[in-house]
């Protein structure tokens, strides 16, 4: 099988195939692993897939393999809580994440795959005057950059979230919130599959169950990767493995200032829609949104220890439930259906690392911590440009690996810790 002939998804198509019973073509092909590619991308999460997509689409680089030891979206990209927003703190961060939200806005049409982009509004609650001051700061930074972001008071919060207890006799009274109307959620799997399908249609190969075991270099240059399905040579190898990023970088002899922490999440049984906004509380270490299916999705801050284990803990759900009920006491009869965990690659300044390393041709797109899903499109676009042109695009220049040696930290500590 060579090229996957793209068949357009549409209501009409659904109707016709519904009548005829004809099956849809495959989303992406299963093909043999070749011996050589122009670019090998490790990790079939949103970062790897979007990089491949923009390489093919914007730069005509199509001889690309995306390899993953598991399945498409099996890492953080299929485990995250899919919050999108651009109300970050540093000008570099704001500009970059805003580009990503912008790409997300039109992604369904671009990929011809409904990714269920839902800009429902994003609220970051402040329970004390220090937090309120930080919210004000973020709002001002955002506004200067043209981002829709404002501090609102308890009455307005109540209007947006009628279930919220905004009275002042609670343990953690709500003093106000940073309100970011363009923030929202998206269907994470759809984004991953949409990118995979669209990239495949242009000739990119997606290889699941293909584990990278080593990285070959010669004379300070990358020459290819070793996998469980054999060696593959390529002049450019891009590390898009998030929680496993340091393990892959080690194979190339590159040290990354990253520590991997587990991050847990949970989901309830579905109930009728009652929460349209995404609600985040940094002080209470919790955030919540409701999916179109009616489930509440919860998340929190990362586990305090470094680990590659994806086990869940009871404490996580206990604390989460306690804090959610502080915010919305009337939902105590809802039931937690499932909890899970993923890995987050945390950098010292809570900003990502994108760009060149000391090994020529070995590029990194890592350090996505708890906030990388929303960045998928913008980083893919920029990394593709970097790989194709061998130059760092301006929009990601603040996020290079060298900044840790040169002291140019881009700290999003205040905006990224729980907000994701």
């Amino acid at each position: 099988m060579s090229r996957n002939k793209p068949v357009k998804y549409s209501a009409l198509g659904l109707f016709k195939r519904g009548l005829s019973g004809k099956e849809w073509p495959r989303v992406w092909r299963d093909v043999d692993l070749k011996k050589t590619y122009d670019v090998v991308i490790i990790g079939a999460g949103v970062h790897g897939l979007s990089t491949a997509y923009y390489l093919a689409k914007n730069h005509g680089v199509k001889n690309v393999a995306v390899v993953d030891r598991a399945y498409v979206g099996g890492g953080g990209s299929g485990r995250n809580t899919a919050i999108l927003r651009s109300n970050y703190l540093t000008p570099e961060g704001v500009r970059f994440y805003d580009r990503s939200v912008d790409l997300y806005r039109h992604l369904a049409a671009d990929l011809n795959f409904n990714v269920m982009f839902a800009p429902r509004g994003h609220l970051t609650l402040a329970h004390n005057d220090g937090a309120l001051r930080t919210m004000r700061w973020r709002a001002e930074v955002n506004k200067v950059q043209g981002i829709d972001s404002e501090v609102i008071g308890p009455e307005e919060i109540k209007k947006l979230v009628p279930y919220m207890d905004v009275s002042d006799d609670t343990r953690y009274p709500i003093l106000g919130a940073l309100y970011h109307p363009p923030g929202g959620i998206i269907r994470h799997d759809a984004v991953n599959w949409g990118y995979a399908r669209a990239a495949d249609a242009m000739g990119v190969e997606i290889h699941q169950k293909t584990e990278v075991l080593g990285i070959n270099t010669a004379g300070g240059k990358v020459t290819g990767v070793r996998t469980n399905r054999g060696d593959v040579s390529a002049p450019i190898v891009i590390n898009c493995t998030a929680g496993w990023a340091t393990l892959i970088a080690d194979m190339a002899g590159v040290k990354l200032p990253i520590i991997t922490h587990p991050l847990q999440a949970a989901v309830t049984e579905p109930v009728q829609m009652f929460l349209s906004s995404v609600v985040v509380s940094g002080s209470l270490h919790v955030y919540v949104s409701q999916t179109d299916r009616g489930e509440l999705v919860f998340g929190a801050s990362t586990d305090p220890y470094a680990a590659y284990s994806m086990r869940s803990s009871l404490e996580f759900t206990e604390e989460l439930a306690g804090h959610v009920l502080e915010l919305m006491p009337s939902i105590s009869k809802m039931r937690v259906l499932r909890q899970w965990s993923g890995l987050c690659d945390i950098t010292p300044d809570f900003s990502p690392i994108m760009g060149f390393t000391e090994v020529e041709g070995f590029l990194v797109d890592v350090g996505w911590g708890t906030y990388g899903f929303k960045a998928g499109p913008a980083s893919g676009e920029a990394m593709a440009q970097l790989a194709a042109t061998n130059k760092t695009p301006e929009i990601i220049s603040a996020f290079d690996l060298a900044r840790f040696e040169e002291g140019r930290l881009a700290s999003e500590r205040g905006a990224a810790a729980v907000g994701h």
Binding site: W24, R133, S332, R338
Partner: protein
């Protein structure tokens, strides 16, 4: 049959659990019904001849009882204000208001059912393929999708009644009170272990409860033995919900008064999983019609509740459970017209319907049989959840046609009963007893000598799906056709398939549908079930309420011992981290002027306070602070700043030298917990050999700052054993002495406000007394209590920064104007390389004093300084200074602007720009510090 019992209630059954003398009235969808005590919602509805109990999730198809147990996805109801109540488990209560969820306008006529007609177009994942363009319409489509989905309703108001959590520490925890579980519990207890036995149903007995007279007798005798055993604690209507590392197990107890559920956290030495088996549905056309039931659902309805689930039954079976169901049905007077036994070549093609309910079946021999009940007994699923959560991966047992526990169980986790194999009751009891003994051996002395008899699944027919397509996941309305289509499209691994079609992701969490999902996928891929593999079972085993998980909050609000005084004297509270403290007592500006001209006192108890003891304390201080500590004399105090490894300021405070090897450290109020963790972390992981002990004495002392030109005079009225004169007790010194008769008080001469001041730390129990005494003696001086706001104004006038307000997550040491403090010539300390780098490069913002050119304008904190569209700084603190009668600020600006006299544009939140001038010093008041030293 009397209406009170329901028209389909049959004659008394041997194992019946209802009380025929007690009638319960309830409503279902607004209509009144009667049931009996002991009935579940579902048994009562069935007894009343109600067949259609719900509508399905996506296509809004009519649904009736299917598995008839807790997990039955068709039996979710709204009960009063509680959504998603499991109607096949929840017992009736007088006056219960039960309704169907997610139908509009009614269960009978549900608009959503048009989806059924459209189902050929609405295959799994259809929404990914449509509503793409035009983009602006997606929000509207989204609302429609949302309308069709969703379970019950939660009320907008109402409060969380905290359910207290309990702890339990048994030697052996047995999950499941069927014959194997009871047998395991008994033998473990006989071997001397304390056993906790947890059963999900209301009664012990497992499948024996709906069994034959002999089986009932066995159950009864086991129950009696369990009840009589002093070493067994039994919980019924409770469930083992999760197993976490080191046998940390969550147990949910249900049906308690007032609270719905509560959480028991169990640390058990060993865990025995004995959850029995779950009957799996069979996939064929019409398999979700009301009237199609699993054999165990029928056995429960008939034998536990004496309810006739139909009039004319056909039984399709691949095992003895179907035969038993047929017998039970006959026993209660149902006409069993045909038993189709797959073991003898019988086959089922489809079920047909009339008016939305089952009307007949078509068999593989071509015959059609009319019936209103189709009993299906296709086989079993072993719920391996607890083992999965212990790191075990189930493997497929080809002959037994089910996944069974994999090899290499965690050595503290055991499994018995149906989870492991099939056998006669004697065999089950023997295996349970052996495993119980093993669990006890492992729990008490560590080595397991008992050998469990061989026990494995009997051969079963691989009955997963038939020749026609049907529903695989009843919770999610996913059909085998959906699965095949999705697999052929490329979602062809279990993980992708499950995410794409949402099969196994609904409330039943795969218990009923995983095996059939895997079987259909295997057929699509032309692989074996073993090659296809199964999904990971994630906690919890069954959904648990947020209320139970939350329990009662033990996050205390902290108050100083003087809080009662503040509240009775007009103090207005502000939340400061964990603390509540007075922001002001009515007029902060007046408080400021009184302090500046006379004297005032402020409650600063929330300051973090640590006693550090040991011969290596100075080493620790030199490590964590940026300045030097080796030469701090006994009796002196010093200001210090702590930075992280990134050179970013993270706390500041004053530390005093009490005696040879004792120091007293104070931190910011909000930073106390973080500093404590930081110090301990360095001591425990970086320098465990150092002799330093840290005691957190934050709440052991009440702290009061006495500030103002008359503070010395006031304090000297109450202190006789310490010479308070400037010569004997100069600025930046400490003394320990007696205040108002209270010994052991620390007095420090420091001052955040910029005035002469004494910070006193008195034993907490005397805090209120000392405070009141100060107020009393201060009356002559016109003393005022002052709150946080007045302190903030005064510290701003004095130019003291607040960590976290005037500094942020990137503010490194040299940005805050503490160049004089940072000692780069010191041996390594935390943050030194970064600070060295900042020192050499001159990078980073600079903290400066800023005066708005219009003295009446107070720019909101966080107002930005924007030049040429680029952010060049911001206002971090701003107040109107009553002392200077003008607005004053601190701000962080780029180095180029950090030059005295520079005029900067300040952009207010509303977009207006005002001008401000960068000042020479941070301080606008007494920059030289003459007052402090006076």
């Amino acid at each position: 049959m009397s209406g009170a019992q329901g028209s389909s209630r049959g004659a008394q059954r041997l194992g019946e659990v209802v009380d025929r003398n007690r009638t319960i009235t309830f409503t279902f969808n607004g209509k009144k019904y009667k049931g009996l005590e002991g009935d579940t919602i579902i048994s009562a509805l069935t007894a009343n001849g109600v067949k259609i109990v719900s509508r399905s999730w996506k296509y809004h198809r009519r649904r009736g009882v299917m598995s008839g147990n807790y997990h039955d996805p068709n039996c979710h109801f709204q009960v009063n204000d509680e959504p998603n109540v499991r109607g096949a488990h929840r017992r009736l209560e007088e006056g219960m208001v039960v309704s169907t969820q997610n139908v509009s306008p009614s269960l009978k006529f549900d608009i959503g059912a048009v989806n059924q007609k459209l189902s050929r177009f609405l295959t799994a994942g259809f929404y990914y393929k449509t509503f793409i363009k035009p983009e602006r319409l997606w929000p509207t489509y989204e609302k429609v999708l949302q309308r069709f989905a969703g379970g019950g309703k939660v009320a907008a108001t109402g409060h969380h009644v905290p359910a207290d959590k309990r702890y339990a520490h048994p030697d052996v925890l047995v999950a499941g009170g069927g014959p194997s579980g009871m047998s395991a519990a008994l033998s473990a207890a006989d071997a001397g272990s304390n056993v906790l036995l947890v059963e999900e149903e209301y009664e012990l007995g497992g499948f024996l409860r709906w069994g034959t007279a002999d089986e009932l007798a066995v159950a009864q005798s086991l129950r009696e033995k369990v009840a009589a055993h002093p070493k067994i604690t039994t919980l019924t209507n409770a469930v083992v919900a999760g197993r976490y590392d080191q046998n940390w197990v969550s147990v949910i107890e249900r049906g308690l008064p007032v609270v719905m559920e509560s959480l028991i956290k169990v640390r058990t030495a060993t865990l025995v999983a004995a959850p029995g088996l779950i009957e799996r549905p069979y996939v064929f056309e019409g398999n979700d019609l009301p009237g199609v039931m699993l054999s165990t659902a029928v056995l429960r309805l008939v034998n536990l509740y004496a309810v006739k689930p139909g009039e004319r039954a056909v039984v399709f079976t691949g095992n003895d459970s179907g035969i038993a169901a047929a017998e039970a049905l006959r026993g209660i007077g149902v006409d069993v017209v045909q038993v189709v036994d797959a073991r003898h070549g019988g086959g089922l093609v489809r079920a047909t319907s009339s008016r939305g309910v089952l009307s007949g079946v078509e068999l593989s021999d071509g015959s059609k049989v009319l019936c209103d009940l189709l009993v299906v007994a296709a086989g079993w699923t072993a719920p391996t959840t607890l083992l999965n959560l212990s790191g075990n991966h189930p493997v497929f047992d080809e002959a037994g046609a089910r996944f069974v526990p994999g090899p290499d169980l965690d050595d503290t986790v055991f499994a018995t009963g149906g989870l492991v194999g099939d056998g006669t009751i004697d065999e089950i009891l023997a295996h349970g007893a052996a495993v119980g003994r093993q669990a006890s051996e492992r729990a008490t002395n560590g080595s397991v000598t008992t050998v469990a008899p061989a026990f494995s699944p009997d051969p079963h027919l691989p009955l997963f799906f038939g020749t026609t397509k049907g529903i695989v996941d009843f919770s999610e309305d996913v059909s085998s056709k959906d699965l095949l289509t999705a697999a052929h499209e490329g979602y062809n691994s279990v993980e992708l398939l499950k995410r794409y079609t949402t099969a196994t992701m609904g409330p039943a969490q795969g218990k009923l549908e995983t095996i059939n999902t895997v079987a259909v996928l295997a057929s699509a891929n032309g692989e074996s079930i073993e090659e296809t593999g199964t999904t990971v079972w994630r906690p919890p085993y069954v959904p648990i309420t947020l209320g139970a998980l939350a329990g009662r909050s033990y996050e205390p609000v902290r108050y100083s011992p003087m809080q009662a005084w503040h509240e009775s004297h007009g103090g207005i509270n502000i939340v400061a981290g964990q603390w509540m403290r007075p922001e002001h007592y009515g007029d902060a500006a007046k408080e400021v002027s009184t302090v500046r001209s006379g004297v005032g006192i402020i409650d600063v108890t929330p300051l973090g306070k640590f006693e550090l003891k040991g011969t290596d304390v100075t080493k620790l201080l030199n490590l964590v602070y940026v300045n030097k500590w080796s030469k701090l004399e006994v009796g002196a105090v010093r200001y210090g700043v702590m930075c992280g490894e990134d050179g970013v300021i993270f706390d500041d405070g004053v530390t005093g030298h009490l005696s040879e090897d004792r120091y007293f450290m104070s931190t910011t109020s909000s930073g106390a917990a973080g500093v404590y963790a930081h110090l301990e972390s360095w001591l425990q992981t970086g320098f465990p050999e150092w002799d330093v002990t840290i005691t957190n004495v934050t709440s052991a002392y009440a702290s009061i700052n006495i500030a103002g030109p008359q503070s010395r005079e006031l304090l000297s009225k109450l202190v006789s054993d310490v010479d308070l004169s400037n010569e004997a007790f100069p600025y930046m010194n400490l003394r320990t002495g007696t205040i108002a008769g209270v010994p052991g008080c620390h007095m420090w001469r420091i001052g955040f406000t910029g005035e002469l001041s004494f910070e006193i730390h008195v034993p907490a129990g005397f805090g209120a007394y000392v405070w009141e005494t100060l107020m009393e003696h201060g009356a002559d001086f016109g003393i005022t209590p002052f709150g946080l706001e007045a302190q903030r104004i005064m510290r701003l006038e004095k130019g003291h920064f607040i960590v976290g307000q005037d500094t942020d997550g990137v503010t490194q040491g040299f940005s805050a104007g503490i160049d004089w403090l940072i000692k780069l010539d010191k041996d390594d300390f935390i943050g030194k390389p970064e600070l060295q780098w900042q020192h050499d490069s001159g990078a980073g913002f600079r903290l400066v004093g800023i005066h708005p050119n219009d003295p009446k304008q107070v720019p909101t904190e966080a107002s930005q300084i924007v030049i040429d569209g680029i952010i060049q700084g911001r206002i971090t603190s701003s107040r109107f200074s009553p002392t200077l009668n003008r607005s004053i600020c601190l701000g962080l600006v780029v180095p180029a602007l950090a030059v005295a006299g520079t005029v900067v544009p300040i952009r207010l939140p509303n977009g207006t720009i005002i001008q401000g001038t960068v000042m020479e010093h941070h301080a606008s008041y007494d920059h030289e510090g003459a007052k402090l030293r006076g």
